[in-house]
Amino acid sequence: VTVLGRDAMLAPLQDALRDAKADEAELWVHRRRSAISRYAKNEIHQNAVADETLVQARTVVGSAVGIANANSLDPADLRRLVADACAAARESAPNADWPGLAEPAPASEPNAYDAETARADAASQADAIKRITAAVKVRGFRAAGTHQIELTEDALANTKGASAYAPSTLAYLRALVTSDTGTGWAEDLGWSTRSLDPSDVAARAIEKAALDRDRTQLPPGDYEAVFEELAVAEVLRFMSLTGLSGQTLKDGRSFMAGRFGEQVTGPRFSLWDDALDARTLAVPFDVEGTPKQRVALVEGGVAKGVVHDRQSARWFDTRSTGHAADPRRYSVGGHAGNLTMAAATRSANSSSVRRDAACSSRASITRTHRTPSARR
């Protein structure tokens, strides 16, 4: 496993930018090593590792922007990439609201990298899976799931002198346990393999599978419902896409549009985005090189704000919150990808439903179908 490091990542970018025939230019690199072991019926059926690189050049000619992507850090390839982005900029129309590239700014130190996790090998991933399947077999159940280890390095440099680099790691373990009557799901996710506990994942999934019996068909209707954490996370993910960015605010699609300072949800709901929280997975700067900031979105049910990249900050005459996101996946305007919802206690929520159950039906939703895990 090779970690290139700050100098090896940034030096070729800065060299390539010296030759840029543009008013402004920026290079962002996302280098990733992803090792995934997938298992089903207690056996690994797919075991893959891939080393890949994404390099994005963004150049500005006048106020017209061009973007080009490739996957090589070779100096000649980088120069060609910058030239391609310049050609694209010359073919694009001027952006009257162009905010300019990011100025140099210090970002927090990376806090989501673990060298031991970066070195995890295929045998260690198989061992974790075998601990799950051994526990499952004892109950006569079967297990399926995924064990993923990622090592990433992000680096950015631009012609205004901004530069940033951060390595990070990710460790993820999932089990779906199937009994004769139902299924149970559990997962662990963190930036270190130390945050994965295969025995506990197995125990939680087995417990849920054992409880999943005597299913009945619920008729359509209104129910009191408890959403477990993964189900809540899925709802928050869609909330992020549809209402927490500067673009959704500009379009008038955000549930907070025109309502800042007003009560927009129940008073127990508070939500914020904080990539610097040690419990989350993040690099401390965004893909424009802006340091990430904590942003209060909803406090006590009151609309407080949305996240911004440099473009949406320009639209709203404010500053970027460091939420520019990979443009291959997200539109301009920022993306809130490190959400935290304020918690009461789990038992308090359940008690509330039990109280309400006297006058209404109730249901517990453990997760929605095909719930992706939290990712950067």
Binding site: S34, A35, I36, S37, R38, Y39, A40, K41, N42, E43, I44, H45, Q46, N47, A48, V49, A50, D51, E52, T53, L54, V65, G66, I67, A68, N69, A70, N71, S72, D84, A85, A88, A89, E91, S92, A93, D121, A122, A123, Q125, A126, I129, K130, T133, A144, G145, T146, Q148, R174, A175, L176, T178, W185, D251, R328, H369, R370
Partner: protein
């Protein structure tokens, strides 16, 4: 087509010398260009490319896969070491070895037939086409207008330890237009189409006639703003080929993927309700419903010379006059199910991905009557033109779809619009209500069928004709 690649043969030879029961090496180079226009102005001109090698072995009865975009001897030796290490780790969990259904070694080249290379079309020409479409999207209540054209090129070279050595160059072209209209007191209306893609050159973009399509979308959204709510009751529904393409994808394509049967996707994409014991007996739909998987359809987004197992393009029946008869398979899943290779469906999004079972072109077979004759058979019903939001269960047995635009049918004639229409059904119950398929079959292409971990976005094709369904319960929401 790129030159023969001795490096791939060396990798495979090395794999065989180290004791692999099977090895393959796949080099993939991809290019992409897109131009988009928003509200009449150029929003972006984007170019991207990548290239790399994926190496796969069966060693000690298990798969191992490693991929890299780094060049040089050291990187390639590392890829071999890592593939073997992953196979050995997987083998430590297995009770039975991976087996591959037999396929004769393949040699040859495949390339998309093009009239005009979409990458060679000057950007100003692409922009002019999009601006012409944008002009037609303008309506009294349009608040957001977008249009885009894109070109894709994939070069692949596959070499296997069984003697297969095949090269392919696939070029695809796509376009889309969308418009959103807003009016005080009315629910916003939106028309869009993200499935206008084909394995073809710029001639397909011209065939689409984006300007005419844009005018139709503009008229649709303006009409939908003022349309009355539909009546909530069982009714006759006629679906456009565009709508049915998605229904076929979700309710037939996915549940016939053999890896779902083997539970390989149970913890992510899901399983199926179409099990091996059901083949030949499960009543999937009415006698009017036949569906075919076909990797040979000219222009299909799921068309190729060989899949990533090296299986040549084939066609096979999945649904025959309403009865479930076949699966989409890879060599591994065909062997596991004990069936011969009737269709090669092992495909990887890129060099960095392990090939898994994916749809090719999965289509509803055409009927014999004209679309007009189909409409004449509707006294009171709705034409659903394009899907909006939708959801499905993990077995693809139960689904819910809403629509962007619904037209009212009275005595065989289209009369105005209705809004708020959605429907929910079990898959066999829905297709069982089909009482006619027209002969106006057309091909649609999807760019991003999502499946697998890491997530792989796959191009797939779907053909369909207008079709009619009786007594479908619909839901109506304001």
């Amino acid at each position: 087509v790129p030159e023969r690649d001795a490096q791939l043969a060396d990798l495979v030879d090395l794999g065989a010398r180290r004791g692999a029961a099977y090895a393959d090496a796949r080099r993939v180079e991809r290019e992409f260009e897109a131009v988009s226009v928003r509200d009449g102005e150029v929003e972006s001109v984007t170019r991207s490319s990548d290239r790399g090698i994926g190496f796969r072995v069966i060693h000690r009865g298990a798969w191992g896969f490693a991929a890299t975009d780094r060049r040089g001897e050291t990187s390639l030796r590392t890829v071999v070491d890592e593939a073997f290490a992953r196979a050995e780790a997987a083998a430590s969990t297995r009770t039975a070895p991976v087996a591959l259904a037999a396929v004769a070694p393949q040699r040859g080249e495949y390339r998309t037939t093009l009239e005009r290379d979409p990458f060679a079309v000057p950007v100003p020409e692409r922009i002019a086409l999009l601006r012409a479409a944008d002009a037609n999207l303008k309506g009294p209540h349009a608040v957001s207008r977008r249009g885009s054209v894109a070109a894709y090129r994939t070069r692949k070279h596959l070499v296997t330890s069984e003697g297969t050595d095949v090269q392919q160059e696939i070029v695809e072209s796509g376009a889309g237009v969308s418009v959103t209209a807003v009016k005080a007191g009315a629910k916003p209306a939106q028309r869009y189409d993200g499935r206008l893609t084909r394995q073809a050159g710029w001639e397909f973009i011209e065939y689409l006639d984006l300007a005419r399509r844009a005018a139709r979308y503009r008229d649709d959204v303006e009409a939908m703003l003022d349309a009355p709510l539909a009546a909530e009751r069982p009714t006759t529904l006629v679906f456009t080929p565009e709508f049915l393409a998605l229904l076929v994808h979700e309710s037939c394509g996915h549940p016939t993927e053999a890896d779902r049967v083997l539970e390989y996707e149970v913890a992510f994409a899901g399983t199926t309700f179409m099990w091996p014991k059901d083949r030949g007996t499960l009543r999937y739909g009415s006698e009017h419903v036949s569906m075919t998987a076909d990797a040979t359809v000219p222009g299909g987004m799921g068309t190729f010379g060989w899949d990533d197992d090296g299986v040549p393009a084939m066609r096979t029946k999945l649904i025959d006059r309403g009865t479930f008869v076949g699966y989409l398979t890879s060599r591994e899943t065909a062997a596991a199910l004990g069936v011969p290779v009737a269709i090669g469906s092992a495909r990887a999004e890129g060099w960095q991905h392990f090939p898994i079972v994916r749809m090719v072109n999965v289509s509803l077979d055409p009927g014999a009557q004209s679309y007009d004759a189909l409409l004449q058979g509707v006294d009171d019903g709705l034409l659903l033109e394009a899907p909006a939001s939708y959801s499905l269960d993990d077995k693809r047995q139960n689904f819910h779809f809403s629509t962007q635009s619904a037209r009212v049918i009275r005595r065989g004639v289209l009369e105005g619009y209705a809004r708020g229409v959605s429907f929910q059904s079990l898959t066999p119950a829905f297709w069982g209500r089909c009482d006619g398929v027209a002969d106006d079959w057309e091909l649609h292409g999807f760019l991003s069928c999502a499946k697998g971990e890491p997530l792989q976005l796959m191009r797939v094709g779907h053909g369909a004709a207008h079709a009619r369904f009786r007594d479908v319960p619909i839901e109506v929401r304001a």
